[in-house]
Amino acid sequence: MAGPTFETPKLLDDTATLPIPSVKPGAMQGVQSFIAGDKIQEQLGYPGELLPNWKERAIERMGELLQKYRGLQVFLDACVHCGACTDKCHYYLGTADPNNMPVARQELVRKVYRRYFTFAGKYFPKLVGAIDLTEEVLDQWYSYFYQCSECRRCSVYCPYGIDTAEITMAAREIMDSVGRGQKYSNEILGKLHRIGNNLGLPGPALEDTLAGLEEDILADTGVPVRLPIDQKGAEVLLVTPSADFFSEPHVESLIGYAKVFHAAGISWTLSSTASEAGNFGLFIGSYENMRKAALRIREAALELGVKRIVVGECGHAWRVAYSFWNTLIGVGAGAEDPFGKALQQQLDHRYKQPSHICEVTWDLIQKGAIKLDKSANDHRIVTFHDSCNVARASRMGDIPGGQFIIPREIIKASCNHFYDMAPETIYEGTFCCGGGGGLLTDDLMEVRVKGALPRMQALKQVVDDRKVNFMATICAICKAQFTKVLPYYGFPMSMVGGVHQLVSTAIQLGSNE
């Protein structure tokens, strides 16, 4: 089915940021992703289709979430409509649809919250802008809560830290629980529950792929670098986005991790039952589904007896691992329940649990355990795209901001030419790639292309001024999104790649066989 056509926004010369557009109400109202069918919904424990009593159920679910999540309750009360966030969302900047301004996006839920849960909204709805939940509202929710990548940029700039991502997640959970789910996210999550990874790759297919990669590396370098799977007693369990096994350029980073472990002499393994780091339970705001998806990792770690758990290049996977794994499944320190304790005894607490692959590599570089030849990357002039979940919702190393410093240090250790994009477009102010949060589906191509606009504009500036020809990222979604979207803006899709792709090119494998 050919989607509706749309115009790719134009980039300007000599600027890193575009002017803020004037509001165009309704510009993106009709743009929706496919709705999940009954099979997809039921796998996740949701109704197969829109319930006959969906309104009552939705209000009831909202009430439950308000009691479970302090953030939601505070965020729905505290907004003063100051407008500070209105120009912070890349989807607003790219589409000019006012409902893509974070505060207006929140209002879609807040108006309903006020109506059913506040005194002012119950008795003076007109005065405070409270409305009944109707089919039209549900439709708006479905449009605009799947035009938010949950990137949290708005949260950085709000005086109260109001996090639209939390409201988006709540809205999606409410929609799911009345039977209105999104096909893309929910199908992927179902595959993860059923088969073990987002791509639905069974164990044998995975083994084949890994064997093929080993051959490629041997042919390329003459060194027998292994990509082991289900190896009991390995020191490290690597959990990475499944895109790393099949997609370009992701697989180049997988090769990079393998080379790092090889060069440092660290035994490691993948797991056929926990081959996926991505956790779409986050995107739909479902604690239970997120926990269920994470449990595989705890089981695999216990089963394989590993001492360390390391996460590959994936933004939201790292957020879930860093911020939530300890809560969900006890990977980290300080757990007191029996499961957590068993895991704690097994893991080696001289290392951060879990670790990001960048933390591992940076540590090895500093210790001199791996050597890099920067000149091997001389054909590349590199910039770095901070992925939103890593940048604004996680950390690396010991100091605040380690998630910005460590990947950049690895890049600088791997190549001679590195230039950052404009300061207001990186670090915690980074723009999302436009495809995160469950939007990486072709039905939302218009949202993705337009949402990428702010990043593309900043990229254009370093391409023009510094001749940048490679944008490194540490997120599977960023990589997939950019390879698709770069050509719309006249950039080659091969421009995007992983940080460990650079490491892979520069690393000196030596002969510690």
Partner: protein, 244 residues
């Protein structure tokens, strides 16, 4: 005892009760609702002391707002700081004896002139609601009315300070009386009565309006959490149930 006096005395008791009980209820609700996941927003401090510093900068300097929009920051900060100084000066109407610091000439003068900053800030914030199309889009009727109310409070107060002085001694007797549950006559000055009525209205709507941002800011998990999820397990009571 005139009807006006009785009316205002009753109004202030009701308004105070609504303000205090309403806020207490909300604070209790925020405090007892669990925050099941660690969601601090970068740049997140890794220690408790760091969180207190961060919160302090947010509350006193509006740090995040400064990063996001200088105009809103200037007007918002002028208004809030102006209001704080003005309120501090007002303490002398409720105290006997008055704290030295409140009675200082300087504090009293600053309190008078801060009202200009307060009103200027409010007018700036209001102007944005008409002039910036994005802000116009998100503005509700209640946003206008709250600004109008605050400006009304500021202007009536300034009127009594700079134009037609009210009977401050009489007012103080009335206020101190209320605090001891005695009703003393309220000076019958229209400007004063308007000022007090507007203030009481503000107190009444506080716990049911967006003014809840005042307690809310302290409970925002994206700002008040320590960034240490790998070091400490963070489990909400309802989530602990799932472990069983």
């Amino acid at each position: 005892m005139t009807t006006t006096t009785v009316f205002f005395a009753a109004l202030f008791y009701v308004a105070t009760a609504i303000l205090v009980l309403g806020l207490a209820r909300k604070i209790y609700q925020y405090a007892k609702t669990p925050a099941p996941l660690k969601i601090p927003t970068t740049p997140a401090p890794t220690t408790k002391a760091g969180v207190i510093m961060r919160m302090g900068r947010e509350v006193v300097l509006f740090e995040s707002l400064f990063k996001s929009n200088k105009w809103i920051w200037i007007f918002g900060w002028l208004f809030h700081v102006g209001l704080a100084v003005v309120l501090f000066r007002h303490l002398r109407y409720f105290q006997y004896p008055v704290w030295d610091i409140v009675s200082f000439e300087f504090v009293q003068a600053a309190g008078k002139y801060a009202s200009f900053a307060m009103v200027a800030g409010l007018i700036g914030l209001w102007a944005r609601r008409f002039l910036v199309d994005r802000v116009r889009y998100i503005t509700t009727l209640s946003d206008h009315l709250i600004l109008l109310l605050l400006i009304g409070i500021g202007l009536t107060g300034m009127g009594m300070t700079f134009v037609s002085h009210t009977d401050v001694v009489g007012l103080k007797i009335f206020m101190l009386g209320l605090m001891r549950f005695e009703i003393n006559p309220l000076p019958e000055d229209p400007l004063l009565m308007a000022h007090l009525a507007l203030v009481a209205t503000l107190m009444i709507i506080f716990p049911i309006s967006k003014l809840l941002h005042a307690p809310g800011v302290f409970f925002s998990p994206s700002r008040n959490q320590v960034d240490d999820p790998r070091e400490h397990r963070h489990l909400a009571p309802w989530a602990t149930e799932l472990e069983k």
